[in-house]
Symmetry: C2
Subunit: 105 residues, 2 copies
C-alpha cells in the first residue's frame, strides 16, 4: 500500500500547521492523540461525524505535518509529530494542548 | 466614528486565533506589531500588497481577537492583544513569534 504524503521536517511550515489546528474537530483529534503514543482512528468514531469527514480532517493534519500515519495491513495508526513540531516551533503544541476547552469552539 | 468589532476576552476562541495566524502575511503583520506597542498601518505598505488586501488581513486579525484598533480621527492604530492572548493561551503567541522565518512561508 502506498504511504500517504507526509512532509519531512524541513518542509513543515508554520502557516499550514496553524491552519491544520484552526478547526475545533481537528483540535479534538490532536488532544486525543496527545494522550497516547499511537492511535487507531476508530476511537474518534464517537465524535459523531461521517467517516469521510474524519478522513478529511486526518488528511489536513497529516499533510501539514501535525500527525503521521503508520499503515499495518488495512489499519492506519496515527500519532502526533511532537518531536518535529517541538524542534521547529518550541512551545506551540503544548500551548495549544493546554488551552481551556471553553475556548476551543 | 463607529469602533469596529473586536471580541471581548471571553469571546476569543482558539480556532479563530489559529486561523487568523495561519497566513504568511498576517504572521508578518503580527511580528511587526510585536516589535512595538502601537502602530499605524502605513508601515505595512512596504509589504507590497493592495491596501484592500491589507485591510482584509487586519480585519481577520481584529475579529479573531489577535489585534485591537484605536481610532484617532481618520487614523487607525493597531496593537497586539498580548495580555488577553497570554491569559487565554499561555505561550501560544511567543511560540509563534519565535518561529524561524524559514518556516513561515
Amino acid at each position: 500500500m502506498r504511504t500517504p504524503y507526509q512532509p519531512s521536517r524541513q518542509d513543515i511550515k508554520l502557516p499550514s500547521v496553524l491552519h491544520a489546528l484552526s478547526d475545533p474537530l481537528r483540535l479534538k483529534i490532536v488532544k486525543g492523540l496527545s494522550e497516547t503514543t499511537e492511535q487507531y482512528c476508530s476511537p474518534y468514531l464517537h465524535l459523531n461525524v461521517a467517516k469521510s469527514t474524519l478522513s478529511h480532517h486526518f488528511k489536513v493534519l497529516r499533510e501539514a505535518g501535525v500527525i503521521k500515519v503508520r499503515i499495518e495491513g488495512t489499519q492506519h495508526f496515527y500519532s502526533l509529530r511532537t518531536e518535529d513540531l517541538e524542534a521547529l516551533f518550541p512551545g506551540l503544541l503544548p500551548s495549544v494542548l493546554r488551552a481551556d476547552e471553553a475556548h476551543m469552539e
